[in-house]
């Protein structure tokens, strides 16, 4: 498949090229919707489509006014601030609890391991609308509904499965004799953890933290139910924007968020390569 042999028949030749065209179209389907919003966000008009000026590449067809609106509008600024108040704290909670638990789970004798694993992974499996419904009922009865703490706790719970999975995966390649070596040299378990184990599993921890961050940063269903107006996050503002007063500022926000995803993707890819190199799998 990877290359066409010289003896290929005309039929094989046709199929070879048409298959590539089909794949190209599917790739186009995947990437086009994301790419199309970038130029549209510079629209000088309040339209969601390309104007004549834009298509003829005239400078007056383009402007930064939607970006300007995003950075000056108090609603959007409040939402941005809330997102950055909620996501990092939720990430910190999820990463700390998750890493410690993953280390515990990777020990050789864990009682009731399958049950514990199922419970810890469950926030990832249960549909968000159900988690949101349950948390809404439960958090209202204990007075956490509509509070910052409530949203942070909920987001932390949703993020932990990702940390568990990534850190456990890194720990599979972790050589446990290193811990024994460190102990035999007189280090206590805490020193061993920070000086020996942590530096080796850090790629897993960081990528778990990134997953937890993006889970919280992108999350809208739970915050929609659990939050009050004071916890309006960026996705929430986008959601209301799309449902009610559809404004092109959303496109500017969306474009900025695409760049955030590109940055995250790059970091993750670098981490993956590093951990593969450390495990001696593939060079680069």
């Amino acid at each position: 498949m990877s290359a066409l042999p010289p003896y290929a028949s005309p039929l094989q030749r046709t199929w070879f090229y048409s298959f590539r065209v089909i794949c190209g179209l599917i790739f186009f389907f995947l990437i086009f919707p994301i790419m199309v919003i970038l130029p549209l966000s510079f629209n000088a008009q309040d339209f969601f489509t390309f104007t004549k000026e834009m298509l003829s590449l005239k400078p007056e067809g383009y402007s930064l006014k939607h970006y300007n609106d995003f950075f000056t509008n108090p609603d959007w600024q409040q939402a941005l601030k809330n997102s950055f108040l909620i996501a990092p704290v939720a990430t910190l909670l999820a990463t700390t609890f998750g890493t410690v638990a993953a280390i515990g789970l990777s020990q050789s004798h864990v009682p009731f391991k399958p049950v514990i694993m199922a419970i810890l992974i469950s926030p990832m499996i249960v549909p968000l609308i159900i988690s949101a419904a349950g948390m809404y009922f439960f958090f209202s009865s204990i007075g956490l509904q509509g509070t910052y703490v409530g949203v942070v706790l909920a987001h932390a719970a949703l993020g932990t499965p990702f940390v568990i999975i990534t850190v456990t995966a890194t720990l599979v390649g972790f050589d446990r004799s290193l811990v024994r070596a460190s102990a035999s040299l007189g280090a206590n378990p805490v020193t061993t953890f920070f000086k020996v184990q942590m530096p080796l599993i850090i790629p897993g921890v960081v990528s778990g933290a990134l997953f937890a961050f993006i889970t919280s940063f992108d999350e809208v269903v739970v915050v929609l139910f659990l939050g009050s107006a004071g916890q309006k996050t960026l996705p929430w503002q986008m959601f209301t924007g799309l449902r009610e007063q559809i404004s092109p500022t959303i496109l500017a926000v969306a474009s900025l968020m695409v760049f955030i995803s590109i940055a995250l993707l790059t970091v993750l890819e670098l981490l993956r390569r590093r951990s593969e190199r450390l495990r001696g799998l593939t060079p680069g």
Partner: protein, 422 residues
Amino acid sequence: MSDTTQDGQVLTTQDGRPLKAALGRALFREKLRAFLLVAPLLIFILITFVAPIIDMLHRSVENSIVEETLPKTVVALQEWDSGSGDVPDEVVFAALYDDMVIAVDEKTHTRLGSRLNYEQSGISSLFRKTGRRIKRMDEGEPLKDQFLAADKKWGDVTTWQVLKQFSPSYTGGYFLNAFDAKLGPEGVELKPADERIYLFLFGRTLFLSTVITLSCLLLGYPIAFLLAALPLRTSNLLMILVLLPFWTSLLVRTSAWKVLLQQQGVINDFLVWINLISDSGRLVMINNQTGTIIAMTHILLPFMILPLYSVMKTISPTYVRAAKSLGANDWTAFWRVYFPQSVPGIGAGAVLVFILSIGYYITPELVGGTSGIFISNRIAYHISSSLNWGLAAALGTLLLVAVLVLFVVYDKIVGIDNVKLG
């Protein structure tokens, strides 16, 4: 294994303890340490996640409101035969009077009214009206007549049937409702055809999820096949085109589709421009099922490609080569040799996409209009608009059961420990 030496002596450690006990203790300590490391997260998840889910399950059958608001009436109604066709006698009305006086004082009667209104419309106004008149009633006179004078619905047997039916602290009523059924005089029966919505919505959720899963498979299979066949350097590069949408915010992708699909949107403009459709004949692709299917296929496609790719990567090309050397043509080699080996990937991807799509809320809400919404949108509606939490909980429970069943299937195919990210 024996813990004695050949001459019958018990093995001991250096400090003289029996070896068996020492090992047992060491094992216990190790277990305890592992458990203590897991415990903080376990407690955290139990409080912030498992307790809410259990609370929801409980709410779907919980019904103590009638008993709490009208305790004496509930006791008095036990004597009354709901099948008799007669309205209860003076004793019950006296109990109702006592209960209502307290309930009006505590203003709980309107809540009970709106709760019972889910079962029988009109009860909400009945309770509010009676609540206003209760102060003017005279305890000495026959209360039955006074209640009937306040609202003649008290003389209606169905009102009392509903009240009696929902007096136990637990009810299956919400679940019956979720199945478009109700408990009539002759047992469980389906609601009138024009009131049935949930079975239809569950059906639509399953149907749309199936369509989305199939279209993901149709689009994902060629991509995964190509990525697995190309040399690593090229496929890693192309993988970015799959991972970028995967990492892009759900809201971003949904807004992109909203921009593309609307009637004044990019796709319609393009089709008009190339004269494929006329300006008046612009396609309606959003706020209906088409919109939901297109947008969700795009959003869930990476979840199909990634498991497929990881399975196809392990299929050795030598099998296909062997098949060809034995005389198979390209199609036979693919269909009889390659495809069967990729089936586990299809299973994993399809179940994953299906699980994710039946619980989707945001995208159907934004691009689905009324014909493209899922059961989850109805759950959200009952939580935030109609405030019928019990019904929302019952619908949520049913959805949860469906997902868990599917997940057991997923676990059988892939195994929960093999979930990989990125």
